[in-house]
Assembly symmetry: C2
Homo-oligomer: 204 residues x 2
């Protein structure tokens, strides 16, 4: 994990300036869509000249890749840590679904860019992100398989349940906050309950 | 219903030419994002001059609105019809979730434009679409409330369950087809099963 972590850091850019450029790019990409946004506009939004972005990110795609890499790596870290919090599969599922939904609510603008602009990544960069996404899905699949094998959960189609749980989390970044649900804790708690029902978790 | 249906038809444009322009626009918007797409490019993609689009759609936003109106009206029609298919709340939920998921899988490109480009509608047009979306959600909420009241379903947070079911359907248009799930029937059947579990439907 340490090796890949430092590789991620290197790709992202570690300076404060690069973090500021990524934050500005998230806002502009989310507001206009990646295709319609320009690096000139991103630079201007934080008072930089276009030339000041170039040493950090040579292209608009490099900036999108850095945002995607940061977002998807962060999700995987959060979900991996949550999957260790608890002894039973039920406790681990509660912790993991909660962390996943909270992440997408708390980081909804960045998540939206990371989740919905994947088509604009280069094939090489897309491959890296797709692998991180698969690792995140595997965390959920492993918990569901473990719970079903231990008799904690009902028999369930692990692939469909994993898809549904991750899909609900991703889609939070599309609509959150809404008039009805603007509290991340509330929607996370609601989705944890539904995930437990999906897998047929036995509860006292 | 007839009045609003004919109003929808008028707004959409009823000619074959306008339907062809909408289909072309869906492809271009889905490929590049609404913000980066131009009406000139849409026209050219089907061998028309830019001037040939103007009599049908005066602006790019009018075209997006027509696509959104057509998509969201179609979803509401499909879901409303499905909600009448069956006597019990369980049968009605099965039919309705199936129809909703199938629609988003079968029409995934148009659905993606209709669902993810709402921010680019004018405030007036957004209001119309938001009302149609609320009507669609109410179809699900009514079934869940009826099933819970009749003791067919477990007590459930109707708002969260409605949100989750509609969210799963919308998100299908983001990822469908995938390598693993490219058959609309398979994913619809899987999500019907999960929706029944979410509401705690009693089954023999």
């Amino acid at each position: 994990m340490d090796v890949s972590r430092s590789a991620v850091r290197d790709e992202l850019g570690t300076s404060k300036a690069s973090a500021r450029i990524r934050a500005a790019a998230i806002e502009v990409f989310a507001a206009k869509g990646y295709g319609a946004a320009g690096t000139r506009e991103i630079a201007a939004s934080i008072g930089l000249s276009p030339g000041a972005v170039y040493p950090h990110y040579k292209t608009k795609e490099a900036l999108l890749y850095a945002i995607s890499l940061e977002g998807h790596s962060s999700v995987l870290d959060v979900v991996t840590a949550a999957a260790h919090a608890g002894a039973s599969a039920t406790e681990r599922l509660i912790s993991t679904v909660n962390a996943y939904v909270m992440w997408h609510a708390d980081n909804h603008t960045g998540a939206r860019v990371a989740q919905y602009e994947l088509r604009s990544l280069s094939p090489e960069h897309f491959t890296v992100i797709a692998e991180i996404r698969r690792s995140t899905s595997r965390v959920f699949s492993e918990i569901i398989e473990t719970g079903a094998a231990a008799g904690e959960f009902d028999p369930v189609d692990v692939g469909v349940a994993t898809l549904a749980i991750t899909s609900l989390g991703v889609d939070v970044s599309r609509w959150f906050p809404s008039k009805t649900y603007s509290d991340a804790d509330v929607i996370a708690a609601g989705y944890v309950e539904l995930a437990l029902r999906m897998v047929g978790a036995r509860r006292s």
